[in-house]
Amino acid sequence: MDVIPKWADALLIPLISILIAFAISAGVIVAIGEDPVAALNTMVTGALGSSYGWGYTLYYATNFIFTGLAVAVAFHARMFNIGGEGQAMLGGVGVALVCLFIPFPHWILALPVALIGGALFGAAWAAIPAYLQAKRGSHIVITTIMFNFIAGSLLVFLLVEVLKPAGAMDPATAKFPEGTHLPTFQDMFSFGEKPAFRGAPANVTFFIALLSCFAVWLLIWRTRLGYAIRAYGHSEPAALYAGISPTKIIMIAMLISGGLSGMMAINAVMGEAERLVLNSVEGAGFIGIAVALMGRSHPLGVLLAALLFGFLYQGGAELSLWTNVPRELIVVIQALVILFTGALDNMVRMPLEKLFLLFRRKAPEAATTVAKPAE
């Protein structure tokens, strides 16, 4: 028997958790001597007050949708994939290789190939920890953490020793050729005289991210494979009894997860920088954890959470530009969201459960007392 109705579980608990996280964040802002209302104002105008701000907000949100979906898919199989950061780095390598070495006449052709390249590299980087978990029982959390660091070193090596064009100083690849240029929102939505989204990095990848949300929803709730993944996530013995192979589920879920992380590179590497630089991921792999937890691993929730974090990211950048609040405020908010929606979930849930039980017990009592006089 569920103690809590479904709507409360899906909406009320995350909402309360996020409110607590934001209240503490406001407290932090007060503690460092700034005005939280003014800070929020700066963030809202900076992130949502202009098409330029929206362009950045949606660009960040696109990254977080991919990494959030990646963590969410793994969560459904009860795998905690902390390796999104490394998988996205490797995805960047895949995208860069495709863009640099295949001469594309038009982005329409470049996009699907780069998508496959990014996804393949990301999935390959997730495949090793997945295999070790499935076959050798190595804890996936530890191995994916280790693989983040290995990916970082590998990326430095590749950029410094292999992919850097001769004579260049900074560790980055050459600029991608013109044929791989993805249309930005400025290219797509500037009608008439005044260009919209001027200079903002949001690009066509945003729509691919939306499609991915739909695809993940389809996969998890409308296919046989998705059912198997969820079944395995709920109970391994039950899944085994039903003839579902744990090895297969772990591998497939992690490959999809790594692939989604790798696809983030389409947005960050191909869409924005148009070359591979060292820190193209910028922690988006970790924000994916917060996004997936907040979105309750549902694609729609992930989408909303990613938009919120996109807003926070862009708003935080504006805040550090205009006030004395450093960008790290976003890291604190991110930490609090992870803490309250993830680890301290029961802190909100337990009292709420008691509350609902109280109401449920009262309701039948009331019914009987009304019924009695009629007798």
Partner: protein
């Protein structure tokens, strides 16, 4: 590579190994009690900041050390609340703590010192603001060099090999280094020779049995998490006030995760932890001296490979190709009494 170069690299290795060792032993206490802790990194970072900040403000490094330990324990309590009291996911809690420390330290540093998220250099705050190097008796150190009127490097070069080892490798570290080495036998004794240690290990293997015996599972686990906080605090304080003179943003730079790797490498045993940390410290020290490494192995090893080696080794160990690393059985799972 000549003998003296080897000694110099070993000396650096010892200094790099100490924060790993503190953090590794911290993780040992926590994980032996069944609480997984991937928040070592964050606790270390918080301790590094608060020890440096308070040492700068008071001019006394010991008060700084206490402040660092305090900050680390505060994060430990959050981890305890999440994973013991509210039976949340210990891994998610650890991730949150890492980010919390990464963000808050910079935020507070900016507010207190306005130097772009760092503390001012501790060398400007008098001789007591950081842990200074201790010269052991009969070792050749700066005082002997001054007395002889010759540079220290020449004096050590001319000394006997025994004196070289003593002066270069064993002498001349700050007090926390020696404390760190003492922590290894102490940890071994507490865990394997005391009643508390037996119970602590039992609670990580089979908490129901401990509960049946009438010992508080929650109390033991909180104690373990608190000890973890103290040791992480010392790791962070050593980073900011011993190894370096002040806090800079993200200064723990993955050391908490290397410590975690060392813990698995050591199969959750104190003495093995010492060797694992020394090994990883040595790898870090070698990454700083690519010239010596190149002369030693005659091929050009990219520094990035040396950086990644601790992580690669850990994955190999975890994969069970070199002996199997079996974690405490009840690790990562909250204890629920009523079933």
């Amino acid at each position: 590579m000549d003998f003296l170069t080897f000694l110099q690299i070993s000396d650096t290795a010892v200094r790099f190994a100490i924060p790993l060792l503190f953090a590794c032993l911290a993780g040992l206490f926590s994980e032996r009690a069944g609480i997984f802790d991937i928040g070592l990194e964050g606790k270390m970072l918080a301790a590094a900041f608060f020890s440096a900040a308070i040492a700068a403000l008071t001019g006394n490094v010991w008060i700084g050390l206490l402040a660092g330990i305090g900050a680390s324990i505060a994060l430990s309590i959050i981890h305890g609340l999440a994973s013991i009291t509210f039976r949340g996911n210990q891994l998610i809690s650890g991730v949150a703590i890492n980010f919390l420390a990464a963000g808050l330290t910079v935020l507070i540093a900016q507010d207190w010192f306005s130097q772009g998220g760092r503390t001012p250099s501790l060398s400007d705050f008098g001789p007591n603001a950081r842990f200074t190097k201790i010269e052991l008796p009969f070792a050749i150190g700066p005082t002997e060099a001054e007395a002889a009127g010759q540079p220290l490097s020449i004096l050590i070069k001319e000394a006997t090999w025994f004196q070289q080892i003593y002066s270069e490798l064993i002498s001349g570290h700050s007090i926390l280094v020696y404390v760190g080495f003492l922590m290894v036998p102490l940890t071994w004794y507490v865990l394997f020779r005391t009643r508390f240690g037996l119970r602590l290990r039992a609670v990580g293997e089979n908490p129901a049995a401990v509960d049946t015996a009438g010992v508080s599972v929650v109390g033991l686990r909180y104690a373990a998490v608190a000890i973890c906080g103290i040791l992480c605090g010392m790791a962070g304080a050593y980073l900011a006030t011993g190894l370096q003179a002040g806090f800079v943003k993200d200064m723990s730079s993955g050391r908490g995760f290397i410590a975690l790797a060392a813990l698995i490498f050591a199969k959750w045993r104190p003495w093995y932890a010492l060797w694992a940390c020394l090994l990883f410290g040595f790898l870090q020290a070698m990454a700083l001296r690519p010239d010596a490494v190149e002369r030693l192995v005659q091929i050009d090893i990219p520094g990035q490979l040396l950086d990644a080696l601790p992580y690669i080794l850990t994955v190999v160990i975890l994969a069970g190709f070199v002996g199997k690393a079996i974690p405490p059985r009840a690790g990562g799972e909250p204890y629920v009494k009523e079933r």
